[in-house]
């Protein structure tokens, strides 16, 4: 994968060496354009840019995590073109996927860092424990904290894959025994792209890398996520939204409303405060997503999703009822027709109070 010849190839050349035709490449670019919410015609522009892009070195560090993000990636549409794109990237270190172990594995990381200093993409999954000098998670005798700082120093950009790397995730859930934090709380001098989700959608992981190679650093939302993939509010894009508008809600998981596919808001659906591509891209090769399978969204791509007051508590009854909860939930506006201009304005207490009041009124009207 890292032979000199392959290193010098552009992505287009590497794919053609793998037997991918131009039309096959265009099909991938069309799917990528769709993911980025770009018009289908943009596929040609993506193809032209990716064709010429150089294959970057990628170092993937796994810290305090469950390997779900890597599982998600590898269970993608393999061996599809997304897989080939990943092959077209020079993945120089990934301790779960690489064949080398022990000193050999660490030597590969050190060599890649030295050879591509200033140019490699650092991918991180998992949070970083800070308590007691970071002793709660170590690799080859090095704390995650030390390894992150060392690898970040020579990186062109960092991609924080999964909610743990992006926002602390489960390890940081109350009472956070290891003092787990997100990458962005440690590294302040490098561009960081958060690809949140527990895990993120497989094609979103590869799509963000493709977007980075095509257009450079993407435009990010106020939580550091690429807007192209996380610009969609689950509630706004939910096919059950018409039931919300009509005030038709499932009250339990086995009542008439649930059987008829009504809105799951009252059963704790976090769709209104969650930004992700699940409602359109879906999971398991486009088969379904939680709401389509009859369960509310748990908001796994948002910070502190584990501590949001309970998966089965309606948003209007959970922690959102408190000022603290509202501060955690920037972006509820889209749920009730407040424009996206309010999104990201976490400091605007008045605006949030207005959102909360409207949400309560909305729910009151349905009782």
């Amino acid at each position: 994968m890292t032979s000199k010849k392959r290193q010098d190839m552009t992505i287009g050349e590497a794919l053609r060496a793998n037997g991918v035709s131009r039309r096959g490449f265009l099909k991938f670019c069309a799917a990528t354009a769709s993911l980025m919410a770009l018009p289908p015609g943009a596929a040609t522009a993506i193809a032209a840019a990716l064709e010429k892009a150089k294959r970057p070195s990628v170092i993937w560090l796994s810290f305090q995590e469950c390997t779900g993000c890597t599982e998600s990636l590898t269970r993608s549409h393999s061996p599809s073109i997304e897989g080939l794109i990943f092959d077209a990237i020079s993945l120089d270190y990934h301790h779960t996927l690489q064949a080398a172990a022990g000193h050999g594995a660490e030597a590969a990381r050190e060599e890649a860092m030295k050879e591509h200093h200033g140019k490699y993409i650092l991918v991180v999954d998992g949070s970083i424990p800070m308590k007691d000098d970071g002793v709660y998670s170590t690799i080859a005798g090095m704390t995650n904290l030390a390894m992150l700082k060392e690898a970040a120093a020579g990186a062109a950009a960092i991609v924080a894959v999964g909610t743990c790397a992006a926002y602390g995730g489960l390890p940081a859930a109350d009472p956070n025994p290891t003092g787990a934090v997100a990458v962005s709380e440690i590294i302040k001098d490098k561009p960081i792209i958060n690809v949140s989700g527990c895990p993120p959608i497989p094609v979103v992981i590869t799509g963000v890398l493709a977007q980075f190679l095509t257009f450079g650093l993407p435009e990010l939302d106020d939580l550091g996520r690429p807007k192209a993939f996380y610009g969609q509010n689950i509630h706004d894009r939910c096919y059950r939204r018409p039931f919300y508008e009509r005030g038709q809600f499932a009250e339990t998981f086995d009542d008439e409303g649930a059987k008829k596919g009504w809105c799951l808001y009252k059963l704790g659906c976090k769709g209104p405060i969650t930004y992700n591509a699940c409602a359109t891209t879906k999971w398991n090769e486009g088969t379904s997503f939680p709401i389509q399978s009859g369960h509310g969204c748990i908001g796994c791509s948002e910070p502190d999703f584990w501590d949001m007051g309970g998966f089965y508590k309606a948003l209007s009854q959970g922690k959102l009822g408190s000022a603290e909860g509202l501060a955690a939930a920037a972006g509820i506006g889209a749920a009730i027709g407040i424009g996206s201009a309010l999104l990201g304005s976490s400091g605007q207490k008045a605006a949030k109070a207005e959102i909360k009041a409207k949400l309560d009124k909305d729910m009151e009207a349905t009782k």
């Binding site: 991918v20 035709s21 131009r22 039309r23 096959g24 490449f25 265009l26 099909k27 991938f28 069309a30 799917a31 354009a33 769709s34 919410a37 018009p39 289908p40 015609g41 549409h77 061996p79 599809s80 073109i81 894009r237 939910c238 096919y239 059950r240 939204r241 018409p242 039931f243 059987k259 008829k260 596919g261 409602a279 359109t280 891209t281 398991n284 090769e285 486009g286 088969t287 379904s288 389509q292 399978s293």
Partner: protein, 142 residues
Amino acid sequence: MSTDARLIDIPVISEPAMTLPSMNVEPILHEVRHALRRLLETGETSMIDLRAMPLAPGEEEKIRTRLGTGEVVIQLDAMGPSTLTETAYSGVWWVEHRNPNDVVTGLYIEVAKVPSIVEPDRQDLIDAVARLNDDLENNDDE
């Protein structure tokens, strides 16, 4: 179950049969009509990405049925099969791309005389001339 079983082979229906309000069928058909007029009047082609829309279960089939089937079906074999079917409305194509695992990766309605992916790229034509030249110069069969 054999080890190469695919998800699609598992007989599970993820959504019970139910009557959902159909929000997308009529607007999409109107969009197709506008696109057809543009094609006729200015030659401008259009593409509607059905996967970028929150279609309710059953809506995709409804749109497909309403558009019907025309005379032409084009099959591509490029990183998985693709089927480009002319609908009952000339110039309106139902475009379905699949990956090598036969999973749908793209679903579009394309409004054009011929779907854009069918036409060869200029670079492919240049390569084709070079390869054919090479073949004629080096093949002594005739």
